[in-house]
């Protein structure tokens, strides 16, 4: 597998003002080609205004086994969701 190109994760900004969102991954020999490949694979239908790529090996991920300690404690803390406020009409979408 030594000749295999590295895996890249692709993030696309759909419109100005929105965040880049993870859309998928692809193989490419370097960052430049990864952006070009991302353009061809993920923006064919005019989906994006900006592309980020990052080599998958640079992403540190949480371990599935740690799910309990990481996420369970926040399960019952509904007061952390700001749903108790009245939002004035003029503010619009929040």
């Amino acid at each position: 597998m030594k000749n295999e190109w590295p895996l890249w994760e692709v993030f696309i900004r759909g419109q100005h003002g929105l965040n880049h969102r993870h859309v998928g991954s692809l193989h490419a020999p370097d960052a430049e080609m990864a952006i070009k490949n991302a353009r061809d694979v993920y923006t064919r239908r005019n989906e994006g205004v900006s592309i980020w790529v990052v080599e998958a090996r640079h992403i540190a991920a949480s371990a599935p086994g740690d799910k309990g300690p990481l996420f369970d404690p926040s399960e019952s803390k509904i007061y952390r969701h700001p749903t108790f406020y009245d939002i004035p009409e003029e503010v619009g979408h929040m």
Partner: protein, 255 residues
């Protein structure tokens, strides 16, 4: 706009449209066969861009001809001797490297030609050129990158690219040959003299081939006969067999 012989204009538009049609079909032959998925999609995108440009060029050609032929009629119901593409575009794909080198040699010409055509005295041609230029700017960037990557890659990829260059080089000169049709286009301010694009072309490809550590073959012998329709290679007929069989077998078929 100066009066221009409509026959010559039709001929010029066929040359533009047949180049993109034939190359577009050739590139589409890779669909599902590329070395990796990403390249497969990228090549299919390029093929689709070229076919899209063909619709514009041949659509206008049919309009200029005035016999009611559509872009589809021109693409699918003409035979080899009516095609006006340069020979370079009809050559078989060969390996992936040769396909990309042929693409680069064509893209470089197209990028320069379309740049000039944006200033055409015919607004319809200027509009097509403006749209196509954006696509070709990306094509040439991508094909140049791949030529450098493979040329300056492993020993094997370098040797294949050098062999591809030796094979393709004698077909480059035809893109810069001029005849009466070109003279009529120049006189009417519609299109540039192809011969006048050569210096810019040589500079563009020279820089890329240099970076790709590839050596330009000696000699300036150039095959010709494609853009005039005088004599195509044996390969075009075979290609049209595949491309046109459906319309030939089921005339007027639509879906």
């Amino acid at each position: 706009m100066a009066e221009v012989d409509q026959k010559a204009l039709f001929e010029f538009l066929l040359r533009m449209g047949d180049n993109t049609l034939v190359l577009g079909h050739r590139v589409s032959e890779w669909c599902g066969h590329s070395p990796i998925l990403e390249e497969d999609i990228a090549l299919a995108n390029t093929a689709l861009d070229l076919i899209g440009q063909t619709q514009l060029w041949l659509g206008l050609a049919g309009e200029v001809e005035g016999k009611g032929r559509s872009a589809d009629d021109l693409a699918f119901l003409r035979d080899v001797w009516d095609f006006r593409n340069v020979l370079l575009t009809e050559l078989p794909n060969g390996d992936f490297g040769r396909t990309l080198l042929r693409q680069f040699l064509f893209d470089a010409w197209a990028s320069i030609m379309l740049g000039r055509l944006q200033k055409s005295s015919d607004p319809r041609i200027a509009a097509i050129a403006e749209k196509a230029s954006k696509e070709v700017a990306y094509h040439v960037e991508r094909s140049a990158d791949t030529v450098v990557g493979l040329g300056d890659g492993t020993q094997e990829s370098h040797d294949r690219m050098q062999a591809a260059l030796e094979y393709l080089w004698p077909y480059v000169g035809e893109m810069f040959q001029s005849d009466d049709v070109d003279a009529a286009m120049v006189a009417a301010g519609i299109a540039p003299d192809p011969a006048g694009l050569r210096a810019e072309y040589d500079a563009l490809i020279g820089a890329v081939l240099d970076e790709a550590t590839l050596t330009l073959p000696k000699g300036d012998f150039a095959h010709k006969g494609g853009r005039t329709g005088y004599m195509h290679t044996e390969h075009l007929g075979h290609m049209l067999c595949h491309m046109q069989w459906l319309q030939r077998a089921y005339p007027g078929c639509d879906w």
